[in-house]
């Protein structure tokens, strides 16, 4: 992608008077985004759409107050105009700057990844599941942050998403199944995508209703990251008021449980090299030996000690502390051992939606299907259903004997909070939770 022609030294000089004290932050964020959307139906490319966007925002924040001036465009002239308007909004003296029109957007070379996927994907999907209606999104985003003090930062992320429905065989006939796969875009994900499609299209029994009540569940195949994203990452975002807010260092789960939020895992969907405030991110331990260990912070909440979790959906959103990749350390139990310990309950490998209400700590997880486990053996298929609970009892209900194989969960891709959507991901071993509430959605 074409470098954006920002005069970072001049921009930093214009911003510098807005950040005179250590408590003040002023920066300029710029994003250039390229996206190709391919609608694929039954082995053929049905529709294509392309998007090119550039936008930037100048921001000032201090002591809980924040001002953002954002606009489309991404050149020096737009940056200068954004800073000028930011200074005006803050009541500061205008910049002594030369007049000038807005920059013409530079032209760049086309995407090479999109045509490659457009050629390859329809056949690749059709081999695993001949009937399908899926949408692939290949996105490339280059972000640049110019702070008032310190070095500018820039990074590029390439993401691939494939979502929609495939029609799979079941004993009772055709069955539409939801499919989602999110991964950083690269050549290497092809094999993983093939495996995911084949697994999703496997012939299975048609599910029966799973019933209502309390039940023990195993969250397998890495889908525990969805639960922990809701139960740990959101409650431990700086500024969030949740049941975990006053429990720093308190033991809330088994000592075997080690959970961190790790943006440096670039092999996962939520990874990045710099956060959207220019801070270098670091992995934050959320649970250390089962104890609440850390919080996800941005510059507004931690100044220069930010953990590098200041994230934006785009230039038009103000940064806020958000989770990235939820990673759970492996334990020692095999899948067979965990199934035996579960004895009777549900074995869940896919969670398709989740939400949490932070003030009460109540969460919900939706699963499209599950396997019943009877006397430690996988039995009939059931679903769809809803798992519900409260954060603290659910964390306490995670049983010792965490799975030993950590698997990335590619079904988790985007997290929306207050209308701001950011990419997230994660990897986890199998977890056994006792007595969650389950409700059939069949």
């Amino acid at each position: 992608m074409q470098e954006m022609p920002l005069d970072t030294a001049s921009i930093a000089r214009w911003l510098e008077p807005l950040a005179r004290t250590p408590d003040e932050t002023a920066d300029l964020f710029s994003e250039s985004r390229r996206e190709t959307v391919l609608a694929i139906e039954n082995g053929a490319l049905a529709e294509v759409a392309t998007r090119r966007e550039r936008a930037l925002a100048a921001r000032w924040c201090a002591e809980g107050r924040q001002t953002l001036v954002a606009s489309s465009g991404g050149g020096d002239a737009e940056a200068r105009e954004a800073v000028r308007r930011l200074r005006a909004a803050l009541g500061r003296s205008p910049l002594p700057m030369r007049p000038g029109g807005l920059d013409e957007e530079p032209e760049d070379e086309g995407s090479t990844a999109a045509p490659r996927w457009a050629r390859r994907l329809p056949g690749l999907i059709a081999r695993a599941a001949p009937r399908h209606r899926l949408t692939a999104t290949i996105a490339e985003s280059r972000r640049e942050i110019v702070p008032a003090r310190g070095a500018p930062a820039s990074f590029t992320r390439r993401l691939f998403s494939l979502e929609g429905t495939i029609v799979a065989a079941s004993r009772a006939g055709d069955e539409p199944r939801a499919f989602a796969f999110h991964a950083p875009e690269s050549e290497q994900i092809t094999e993983e995508l093939k495996r995911a499609l084949s697994a999703a299209a496997e012939p299975r029994e048609r599910p029966i209703p799973c019933g209502d009540g309390e039940i023990d569940v195993v969250l397998a195949e890495g889908c525990a990251v969805v639960f922990l994203h809701e139960a740990l990452a959101h409650p431990l975002e700086a500024g969030a008021v949740s049941p975990l807010s006053a429990l720093a260092d308190a033991r809330v789960a088994v000592s075997e449980l080690e959970v961190k939020d790790d943006p440096t895992r670039l092999d996962l969907f939520g990874g990045y090299e710099q956060d959207d405030e220019g801070s270098t991110p670091r992995a934050v331990r959320l649970l250390d030996g089962g104890r609440v260990a850390g919080r996800l912070t941005d510059r507004a909440h931690a100044g220069p000690r930010s953990s590098g979790h200041g994230r934006r959906g785009g230039a038009f959103d103000a940064p806020a502390p958000r989770g990235s990749n939820l990673v759970v350390a492996p334990g020692h139990a095999s899948a067979d051992e965990i199934a035996r310990r579960l004895d009777n309950g549900l074995w869940i490998e896919q969670l398709t939606a989740a939400s949490v209400e932070l003030s009460s700590g109540q969460f919900r997880l939706r699963f499209p299907r599950a396997r019943r486990v009877r006397r430690g053996r996988l039995a009939d298929e059931c679903g769809p259903g809803l798992l519900a609970g409260e954060i603290l009892p659910a964390l306490a209900a995670i049983e010792a004997g965490v799975g030993r194989e950590v698997q990335p969960y590619r079904g988790l891709g985007w997290c929306a909070r207050d209308g701001v959507v950011v990419p997230v991901g994660g990897a986890a071993p199998d977890l056994l939770l006792r007595r969650l509430r389950v409700r059939s959605l069949a």
Binding site: V48, T50, E53, A55, R65, G110
Partner: protein, 417 residues
């Protein structure tokens, strides 16, 4: 590169078979909290093109004309399946927007709303965050059939977040609002108070069956969830003649909002259900072409980033025999008043299933008996629509995200869980 250059480019690529959309939006937003506030000034520009080339319809969007030219070339280089072109509309709508005046800052309402919420909830609920946005948009649509449309609009909307607390229990609510006239903080405070404090009672429904009285916010959300019945192929379970009770008329009419939709088709009133009989459906250019019917003016663009799609624009219940909501309450012998939803309605249109979860008030002989923290109704959509027997005169519109309007509605013979 300008809009005219893009029109010429598209005309060369797809003579007579193209459309160019441009949008400029500006907004001022204030996010207020007890400690601190965020102010945002946003100026957004967007461009989008659709054109029929090499036998398929293509779409490209960008934040500048130069970006759109590149996006058009990229989309043209990808080979998609064969599609028919569209029956592009022609005509002229609106006039060029006058030179814009500076937008005012959003009104400061945090303190006032917090006070009203505290009073409504008897001190149990507190306002956590209030986002208020003042915005203005100007859109232009031109196409290869001489369409020239210039649309403009302004709005005042936002989101309020509140938390109710009783002992160790807490309940959070996030309510979106849009004010077409003066800010109505009193109604917003009532909605927030109900949504945050009723679930704190932890009392289940005292009845398993009875009448259900839907608050306008609940019936609007339900209507929004059922909108798919009017935009896609009619499911097999639908009986056109007995779609709903004779009290129900459902209309989409955005004629007072803008003269045409996001594709340049003239806005008109569409009667979807009249006295219980299903009579119409909503179409954009694409679905109208597939169904071989004229478009109804419902090609909606929530953003320039996406191609237009069929959606309602101002969908609402209508009735000739509306009664004051108090009269509806008096008609409840034993049942529940659903004051607020605690989760989005869940509908499976093909399977004729719905489910709503709500908090509310138990009612016996038209009198409130006490709060109900949570209840659930589920069953067949067809039965629900036929059991909506009376409509109130208190219709209100809600951003869901398109405007949907409904009054208080009385539903007979409902099961509660």
């Amino acid at each position: 590169m300008t809009g005219e250059d893009l029109s010429e480019l598209l005309a060369r690529r797809a003579p007579g078979e193209w459309e160019l959309y441009g949008k400029r939006g500006t907004s001022r937003e204030t996010v207020s909290r007890a400690a601190g506030a965020t102010r945002a000034h946003r100026d957004e520009e967007g461009w989008a093109a659709r054109w029929w080339e090499q036998g398929s319809l293509r779409f490209a969007a960008a934040s500048s004309p130069t970006g759109l030219r590149t996006a058009i070339e990229e989309a043209a280089n990808l080979t998609a399946g064969a599609q028919d072109s569209l029956d592009w509309p022609s005509g002229a709508f609106g006039a060029e927007a006058p030179e814009p005046t500076p937008l005012p800052e959003p009104p400061e309402l945090f303190t006032e709303l917090a006070r009203q919420l505290a009073a409504e909830s008897r001190g149990e609920a507190g306002l956590q965050e209030l986002t208020i946005r003042v915005g203005r948009t100007a859109e232009t649509i031109v196409n290869g059939r001489s369409l020239r449309a210039a649309l403009s609009g302004s709005r005042l909307d936002g989101v309020a977040t509140a938390v109710g607390r009783r002992g160790t229990r807490a309940c959070e609510a996030r309510v979106a609002f849009r004010w077409d006239e003066a800010p109505d903080t009193a109604a917003l405070a009532r909605r927030l108070a109900d949504r945050t404090t009723l679930p704190l009672s932890e009392k289940p429904s005292p009845f398993e069956r009875g009448e259900l009285l839907l608050d306008p916010s609940v019936s609007s959300a339900l209507l929004a969830a059922l909108a798919g019945l009017f935009t896609a192929a009619v499911p097999r379970w639908v009986s056109r003649a007995q779609f709903a009770s004779p009290a129900i008329t459902i209309v989409d009419d955005a004629t007072a909002d803008t003269p045409c939709d996001g594709e340049g088709t003239k806005t008109r009133r569409v009667e979807l259900v009249r006295e219980g009989v299903l009579r119409g459906s909503l179409c954009d250019l694409s679905s109208a072409h597939r169904r071989r019917t004229p478009p109804t003016g419902h090609g909606v663009r929530p953003s320039y980033r996406n191609a237009p799609a069929t959606r309602p624009r101002r969908l609402f219940f209508e009735t000739a025999s509306a009664v004051p909501p108090r009269e509806l309450l008096e008609q409840v012998r034993r049942g529940l008043y659903a004051s607020a939803l605690v989760a989005p309605p869940r509908v499976e249109l093909d399977a004729d299933r719905y489910e709503i979860e709500f908090c509310g008030i138990a009612v016996v002989a038209g009198r409130a008996q006490g709060p109900v923290a949570g209840a659930r109704c589920r069953g067949r959509i067809s039965e629900l629509l036929r059991r909506m027997t009376r409509l109130g005169s208190d219709r209100a519109f809600f951003p869901l995200p398109d405007l949907v309007g409904a009054p208080t509605i009385l539903v007979d013979r409902t099961s509660f869980e």
